[in-house]
């Protein structure tokens, strides 16, 4: 087995897993059997490709092998009666051969079905669409692999027992269902972008999974502007990733990032997608969030950021999608447009919002404005409060440093 083959199989796993698994699931109508057959196909590839060389179309090769395995298994099993109810595959809608509706889309919509809990939706999407192993999914959510395995099994059982169909919903339900799918992708991304707990600021595996899901959706439904908007948002945010942590592993705020380290290619791609997405009137949630990310991406320096435009976009976002976190970001943007005093004033009413009571960024934002205003004792209190509200080591190190800094002025 040579390195080239190992690399090719790993790449095929990242790129083609969803295709191999979803078309196999369509045939077997049994998620567990489909997983087994798809995994077998990848294992087989390691052996066969070493002897015969890497095929021109690895995805097609793997799909054929997985489906052949599934056919054999089904033939054997038809002797015994299967006890598990089968996945309800919709035979009336066009199959993958028609090239109209892709099996991967059916799979994504099944995993993010609203009859499953949001947590189950996310776990199933990572496991079945992204092909992450159960221990990998468990690690992402900081639970024991056995716990995650039980969760995934329960979710699969619900799909079978409640007969959640393996289908892209019809036009009457598509928008609502797509909303859930996009939210799952967005949550996977945000969980990876700033890991809620742990030693690493960024969980690259989750960020990459979310981006590949968004790319897949965009490829399969290229005219949907909400998908373009989400992909734009993810790419524009991902573009800054390399500058968010310094060489010695410390958090670097947007204001201090080395913009030369931003990924220009991702920014260009994100900008063109966001332009498309903003053509839809009124603009949607992800389009506005992506537009904000684009304003940052376009600014040559922190000082040259068009804060008026940022505030305007947050105003529009808040009208469309009123959430305490949007309100907080809007208040911070006001502070950056009009000065720390205005920022502090804008943040004050949010202190009474119970939804933000344990949200560390509110304390951190206040602390920063107070620091700029040289109100040292209050800044110390705010930094101390922010520190109690994060479980991420990199964020904690950053806040501790700031706290030590302001304490010197007491």
């Amino acid at each position: 087995m040579n390195d080239e083959v190992v690399a090719a199989v790993a790449q095929a796993h990242r790129r083609d897993w969803a295709q191999v698994f979803s078309t196999t699931a369509h045939l077997t109508r049994d998620l567990d059997l489909a997983e087994e057959c798809a995994q077998d196909a990848f294992a087989q590839a390691l052996e066969t490709w070493t002897e015969t060389g890497i095929p021109d179309r690895p995805g097609a090769w793997l799909t054929t092998i997985a489906r052949n395995r599934a056919r054999d298994a089904l033939r054997r099993e038809s002797v015994f009666r299967r006890k598990m109810p089968l996945l309800v595959a919709d035979e009336t809608s066009p199959g993958p051969e028609d090239g109209l509706v892709d099996d991967r889309l059916r799979l994504i919509f099944t995993c993010a079905h609203p009859a499953l809990s949001r947590q189950a939706q996310i776990c199933l999407t990572l496991r079945l669409v992204c092909g992450l192993s159960t221990p990998e999914v468990a690690r992402a959510f900081l639970v024991q692999p056995a716990t995650m395995a039980a969760r995934i099994t329960r979710a699969k059982k619900k799909i079978a027992a409640a007969r959640i169909p393996y289908r892209v919903p019809g036009p009457d339900q598509l928008e609502e269902r797509l909303g859930a799918v996009l939210e799952v992708v967005h949550l996977i991304f945000t969980t990876g972008h700033t890991a809620p707990v742990g030693a690493q600021l960024i969980r690259h595996d989750l960020v990459d999974s979310a981006i590949s899901l968004a790319r897949m959706l965009h490829l399969l439904m290229p005219t949907d502007t909400e998908i373009s908007a989400l992909l734009a948002l993810l790419l524009l945010t991902r573009a800054r990733q390399g500058a968010r942590v310094s060489a010695d592993g410390r958090l670097v705020l947007l204001s201090e990032q080395d913009r030369a380290r931003w990924d220009r290619q991702l920014i260009a791609e994100g900008q063109s997608l966001v332009t498309d997405a903003l053509r839809r009137r009124p603009p949607t949630r992800y389009a506005l969030e992506a537009a904000i990310a684009a304003v940052h991406a376009e600014a040559p320096t922190w000082q040259d950021t068009d804060w008026a435009q940022v505030v305007g976009l947050y105003d529009a976002l808040f009208r469309l999608w009123p959430s305490p976190v949007v309100d907080l970001n809007r208040a911070v943007a006001i502070g950056l447009r009009d000065g720390p005093e205005a920022g502090l004033y804008a943040l004050t009413p949010l202190l009474a919002d119970p939804a933000l009571a344990t949200y560390g960024y509110l304390s951190a934002a206040r602390a920063d404005f107070l620091r700029q205003l040289r109100q040292w004792p209050q800044a110390v209190t705010a930094y101390e409060e922010a520190l109690t509200l994060t479980d991420n080591d990199v964020e904690r190190a950053f806040l501790t440093e700031r706290l030590t800094d302001v304490k010197r002025y007491l």
Partner: protein, 118 residues
């Protein structure tokens, strides 16, 4: 085809407080649901209020107790049910959205697949 139990829950006080006109609209919505589901409805009944319920259970010593009232004392009580046949959950969901209890603020509907022993 699979069988689903559609359980209708709501606040009995709010149902009690409905005017005749509200009941007429309510019943019309059920008729629309029945028309849409057609022969897929196996059974369906409205239940008397939970105050008319009798519950049976045993205590720790295995002594049978018969009590007045519903098994679970909750604000939202079971008010009725439909037993349906459908191809999948999406089909049941789209039919059930016709039920008025899905749209009132105090009530809601639970869809439970029936275990197929066949």
């Amino acid at each position: 085809m699979a069988k689903y139990m559609v359980l209708i829950y709501g606040d009995a006080q709010q149902w009690d407080a409905m005017t005749d006109e509200q009941w007429r609209a309510h019943d019309a919505a059920h008729e629309a649901f029945v028309a849409r589901a057609g022969a897929q409805i196996i059974d369906g009944q409205q239940l008397e209020l939970a105050s008319a319920a009798t519950s049976l259970r045993s205590d720790a010593l295995g002594q049978l107790n018969t009590t007045d009232g519903p098994f679970l004392e909750t604000k939202e009580a079971l008010g009725g049910y439909y037993l349906l046949e459908a191809t999948d959950l999406d089909e049941v969901t789209s039919m059930v959205t016709l039920l008025p209890e899905v749209h009132a603020t105090h009530s809601g509907v639970e869809i439970r697949p029936v275990v197929d022993h066949g």
